[in-house]
């Protein structure tokens, strides 16, 4: 027994269902974005984090590399035996945890931004090509994705960094090489779906070239999904960087990273829990923020949900 009421109002819904361009233009994009609470909250946090990272030298209370064995393993400010000025305590080499955390945001955000953007570009280009041209291109790309998916990503990233050599560029390249498949799969499926829609067929019959349709019709419709994926990928990149630092394969030790701090904290966990807890908390909040931002963006940008 279907509910009689929605049926009653069905014609009304159908009339407004078509996401007409006029309607989209009427409501400005930023209002949709601000209406999504998580976009606002997560976005504000990430903007703040970016500012902290950029202005780290002015914000950090001390030099993150400065060692002072006299002041090693100081607890956070609220605990007994704390030293004033060392808000989150010090590690076993007497380095200020808060300052290292602030500088660590630089590496985390750099990796997030660059790696996610590059992975998105590589993956979407291959996905668009495979989804649009089908045939041999699709066969080759899909097989490649299959092979990639048969690797454990963490192992592959470790392998790649071991091969390319440690350092920030190596970490970024490794993430791009591993995670382009995420974009490729989604964009390929979306392109195939969009290509079968009436408006694309219409554009073809009017005589637009394939490339023009790809750029003018398909890309804008794939874009919302893509933006959301990039945000999610940034969270993943932050985690992968932390994992590589944890294993000891990321940037050199004279640049503080959250993952490096976590690895160090894991070693001295029974003496100084805060050395692990502080970067872990930052990692958690940051990954959550990227995740929520991505989710919120997908809702806000989805032309169907926006009507």
């Amino acid at each position: 027994m279907a509910d009689a009421l929605p049926r009653e109002s069905a014609p009304l819904d159908a009339a407004t269902a078509a996401p007409s361009l006029a309607q989209r233009a009427r409501r400005p994009l930023w209002r949709d974005l601000l209406a999504e609470k998580r976009v606002v909250i997560a976005g504000s946090y990430l903007a703040l984090l970016a500012l902290v990272a950029i202005f780290a030298p002015w914000i950090a209370p001390r030099d993150p590399l400065e060692q002072d064995l006299m002041l090693s393993l100081l607890p956070p400010a609220w605990a007994a035996g704390a030293e004033p000025g060392y808000w989150l305590g010090t590690d076993d080499l007497g380095r200020d945890v808060l300052s290292r955390l602030i500088y660590g945001a630089r590496v985390a955000l750099t990796v997030a931004l660059v790696a996610a953007t590059l992975a998105a570009i590589l993956g979407s280009v291959l996905g668009l090509l495979a989804g649009w041209y089908r045939g041999l291109v699709d066969g080759a790309v899909s097989r490649l994705v299959d092979i990639w998916m048969a690797f454990p990503p963490v192992l592959l990233s470790i392998l790649l960094v071991a091969i390319i050599g440690a350092g920030l560029p190596a970490v970024i390249i490794a993430i791009v090489i591993i995670d382009w498949t995420r974009f490729c799969r989604v964009v390929r499926a979306e392109t195939m779906q969009q290509a079968a829609q009436d408006y694309v067929i219409a554009a073809r019959t009017i005589g637009f070239s394939r490339r023009a349709i790809l750029i003018r019709e398909i890309l804008p419709n794939v874009a919302p999904v893509l933006v959301a994926l990039v945000s999610l990928e940034m969270g993943i990149a932050v985690i992968v960087e932390a994992i590589l630092s944890f294993v000891g394969l990321s940037v050199s030790s004279d640049m503080p990273t959250w993952g490096g701090m976590i690895a160090q904290g894991r070693q001295i966990i029974h003496h100084a829990w805060w050395v692990l807890a502080a970067p872990l908390a930052m990692l958690f909040v940051t990954v959550l923020a990227f995740n929520q931002l991505g989710d919120g963006l997908r809702r806000a940008l989805d032309p169907v949900a926006r009507r």
Binding site: A150, L155, W273, L280
Partner: protein, 335 residues
């Protein structure tokens, strides 16, 4: 699924696996860094190094090396580990059961936890409780295994030390195992003290691996359950006086499972991939932990063997999921 379909899947899988082997082989051989130099130390003579290179076949051309390796693979010989100086197949045989038990236990926990969340969410649908369940699940969904693992370390090994931090079981345990499946074997042989010890060692890594998958299972299953609960057959059963819980378990669950399995199967491969770092964090003696050492030591034959083992596991999982989905659907089973 028909036999022909299974065979076709196996053939595609073989091609994929071959591709994996080629990629790893090429990646490792073009990489800078000499495994022999890392192994032998600074004082060795040129002649010694050359001899060792020859012994591991590293003096041959790339293509020749690949075919030597491939020949060995077909004959069941994965070569010799350079850093551990031991047969790769033997090492895998020793370590793989530990990883399989870890991943298997995590899968079971993920299905139980995810299933429970999904059923609670379905029972609470369109009530304030649903938002609570969805919110909790959203948090589970966003946090990766790496963060869970370290959070558990802090909470359950440092703040409230209830679980042992590292290893697979206490080194003092003295039991003659016939297999390397310690968890299963101790259970089957009713050695409950040993079993309990292994369980307590596995709790944190298993939970860390299971929670992200549980969240995905919960989300997909809840959607499928709510859809099934709207069907007329559920309404008819409700009219007969079945309780909501029984409606979910007896009427909706079987119908919701195939879609859930199909959608979460791939996610299980992510769980298996996650064992690499989780084993590292908890010093758990599986192939993932061994893999990181192998990479750091440039142990080419060992890396190859491990990657191949992971690839084979991934493909086996996908095939198993397809078979399970087919088995659960009476329409496919009879048609």
């Amino acid at each position: 699924m028909s036999l022909a379909a299974v065979l076709r899947r196996l053939a595609t899988a073989a091609v994929t696996l071959f591709g994996v082997a080629v990629v790893v082989f090429v990646l490792l051989r073009v990489a800078p860094g000499d495994p022999i130099a890392m192994m032998i130390g600074p004082g060795a003579s040129e002649a010694d190094i050359a001899a060792l290179r020859a012994r591991y076949g590293l003096d041959q051309g790339l293509v020749t090396q690949f075919f030597i390796w491939l020949q060995g693979l077909i004959a069941g010989d994965l070569g010799t580990s350079i850093s551990l100086r031991s047969d790769v197949l033997g090492l895998l045989g020793q370590r793989l059961p530990a990883t399989l038990e870890l991943a298997g236990a995590a899968l079971v926990v993920a299905l139980l936890v995810g299933g429970t969340i999904a059923i609670l969410g379905t029972l609470a649908r369109r009530s304030p409780g649903e938002a609570v369940v969805d919110g909790a699940n959203g948090l589970l969904l966003a946090v990766p295994d790496f963060i869970w693992a370290l959070a558990f370390v802090l909470v359950f090994a440092v703040f409230i030390p209830v679980f042992p931090l590292t290893g697979r079981m206490d080194p003092t345990i003295d039991m003659d195992f016939a297999t390397r499946f310690f968890l299963l074997e101790s259970l089957v042989r009713a050695e409950f003290a040993v079993f309990g010890n292994i369980v307590s060692h596995m709790t944190m890594p298993v939970l860390a691996l299971a929670l992200p998958l549980a969240a995905i299972v919960a989300r997909v299953l809840k959607g499928a359950l709510i859809e099934a609960m709207g069907q007329d057959y559920v309404l008819l059963a409700r009219l007969k006086g079945k309780s909501e819980l029984r409606l979910v378990l007896q009427e909706a669950l079987r119908n919701a499972l195939p879609a859930t399995l199909a959608l979460t199967g791939v996610q299980f491969t992510f769980l298996v991939g996650g064992t690499v770092i989780i084993e590292r964090i908890f010093a758990y003696p599986g192939i993932g932990n061994m893999a990181i050492d192998a990479v750091i030591n440039r142990d080419l034959p060992l890396i190859q063997g491990i990657v191949l083992a992971f690839g084979a596991m991934f493909i086996a999982i996908n095939l198993a999921v397809d078979l399970a989905v087919a088995a659960l659907n009476p329409r496919l089973r009879h048609g």
